[in-house]
């Protein structure tokens, strides 16, 4: 029964992972109108689905990067297996809830934050609460890039910088090269440039991120004794995860797409091509070189870079600042939620504890969804001018803020800052 809750929660996380990250691949294509919004999310959803099925490699040891609840083969630690694995299941459940709640909260305020970091944060928090500080793999064992520092913190700092440099360089050169060419050549060419590179990012996202949830669910199945093979993943887990991430992607996190495509900087097709190919190249190169980076951080960095590289373009640093702030607090915030959930589940105990944790998640999700309804961002208004609608989803603005009022309170567009 607890297992069923964990599986449902993991799929829910996979779903939020999908719609949270649609923006990474498609925000630029949508903002430059290379693809219509609905077409873009449908394309990205299908590619995520294909990507999820392409990954036959088992990502069972995904939690090993940050916490010590599994051994090297992927089997759960023996001491967590008492009472049908309920110790491990509660940690995983609480961690997933932490990740989901943080994903929804950042979506509500329209900020792209890393779903993997939210998941890791939730797991770290739940592990600290359940096993103490020693249960967390803080710094690895020194043989390779590992642990919270090596797998989460350092890549988070470095990836936006790398992506921004690549995209800024690309944008600057592209503008040099295409300067003075008739628009009929550049518009059509860069439209395809964007679609191609965005598709690569979507596919890579499907193979990487769906795998994480597959690994977590399989871990839970092993802990409860319903699965024993650490080399393979049950087919239904694979199908369910692929569908969850694809559906989430198709739903489209319009608030985040809007922030990334319109809020950070105003992009044209050439910039979109540079940003998205920069992102695709950095994501693929980093996973080839064993230095996996967060898709979200890379995509955001490259959009920012394309704003820096285009002569005369302005970056809205206030928006960028809010994003960086969200990244910094993702890990601790998701961790706190994860830890709180573990304590609640633990104090109530047993099945009842897990049910209460699950119900808290449902309540929080419904509350945030209702809150989002008061100020909807959808396929219809995702491309509205950023400065003309300062009441668009921005942290701290109340739903009933009237346009005129918020136009006064909103800091002036940072056109002069560049």
């Amino acid at each position: 029964m607890i297992l069923a809750l964990v599986v449902v929660t993991a799929l829910a996380f996979d779903f939020t992972n999908g719609f949270h990250d649609t923006a990474n691949a498609m925000a630029t294509s949508i903002a430059t109108k290379a693809l219509r919004p609905r077409t873009a999310v449908a394309l990205s959803g299908v590619l995520n689905l294909i990507g999820a099925f392409l990954s036959v490699e088992v990502a069972l040891t995904v939690t090993n990067a940050v916490v010590k609840i599994q051994d090297k083969s992927g089997a759960p630690k023996a001491e967590l297996l008492a009472h049908g694995g309920s110790g491990l299941l509660l940690i995983v459940l609480a961690g997933l809830v932490g990740g989901i709640v943080w994903n929804l909260l950042t979506w509500l305020v329209g900020l792209p934050s890393s779903s993997s970091h939210a998941l890791f944060g939730g797991l770290i928090g739940a592990t600290v609460a359940g096993l103490g500080w020693a249960g967390v793999n803080w710094n690895g064992d020194g043989s390779k890039l590992d642990g919270v520092v090596g797998k989460v913190l350092l890549p988070a700092v470095l990836s936006p910088l790398i992506a921004a440099l690549v995209a800024a360089g690309g944008t600057w050169l592209i503008f040099k090269v295409t300067n003075g060419i008739a628009a009929r050549f550049t518009e059509r060419g860069f439209k395809w440039g964007q679609i191609g590179s965005a598709s690569l990012v979507s596919l890579a996202h499907g193979t990487n991120d769906a795998q994480k949830t597959m690994g977590v669910i399989t871990l839970a199945l092993i802990a409860s004794g319903d699965w024993s093979d650490t080399k393979n993943i049950p087919l239904w887990v694979k199908v369910a995860c692929a569908l969850a991430i694809a559906l989430g992607t198709y739903l489209g996190g319009w608030r985040i797409i809007r922030t990334l495509g319109k809020g950070l900087t105003d992009i044209n097709p050439a910039q979109g091509t540079a940003a998205q190919s920069g992102a695709a190249a950095v994501i693929l190169a980093s996973s080839q070189l064993g230095f996996a980076l967060s898709t979200t951080h890379v995509a955001t960095g490259s959009v920012l870079g394309s704003g820096l590289g285009r002569p005369g373009a302005a970056v809205r640093w206030a928006v960028a600042g809010r994003m960086v702030a969200a990244w910094l607090i993702t890990l601790p915030a998701a961790g706190l939620i994860g830890a709180a959930m573990w304590w609640i589940g633990h104090l109530i105990g047993g099945l009842a504890g897990a049910v209460v944790v699950f119900l808290l998640l449902v309540a929080a999700s419904v509350a945030m969804w209702l809150r989002s309804r008061t100020q909807q961002v959808s396929a219809e208004n995702v491309n509205d001018d950023w400065d003309a609608r300062p009441d668009a989803p921005v942290a701290g603005h109340s739903a009933d803020t009237v346009l005129a009022e918020s136009a006064v309170t909103e800091p002036a567009p940072v056109a002069a800052a560049n």
Binding site: P155, V166, G193, L203, T207, A270, V282, A285, G290
Partner: protein
Amino acid sequence: MHNFGFALDGAWRVLVAGLVLGAGLPVLFALGIRSLAWGAGEASVNSSGVTAGTRRPLGTALGYLLFAIVVAGVLLGLTFIVASGFGNKLSFEHIYPTIVPK
């Protein structure tokens, strides 16, 4: 802080690969667009009206050649995604990429 060293080592490699592929290929793509535009000739406006430009086949051919290089780069990316999904990785040992088990 051994992690810090590993991270910096990984970071500069990713940066170089990112610049070559992520900025280099789009620039080739842009050059391709430029060649196509040059190959199509430039229309000029003068007193006798609009004159269509003369076509330059060389520019068109060069443009498509550059696009082909870019497509090859994209295919390399695709190969990598599929290969790593199946537990393989790309090896650049022989300069040209080959698929080897991880």
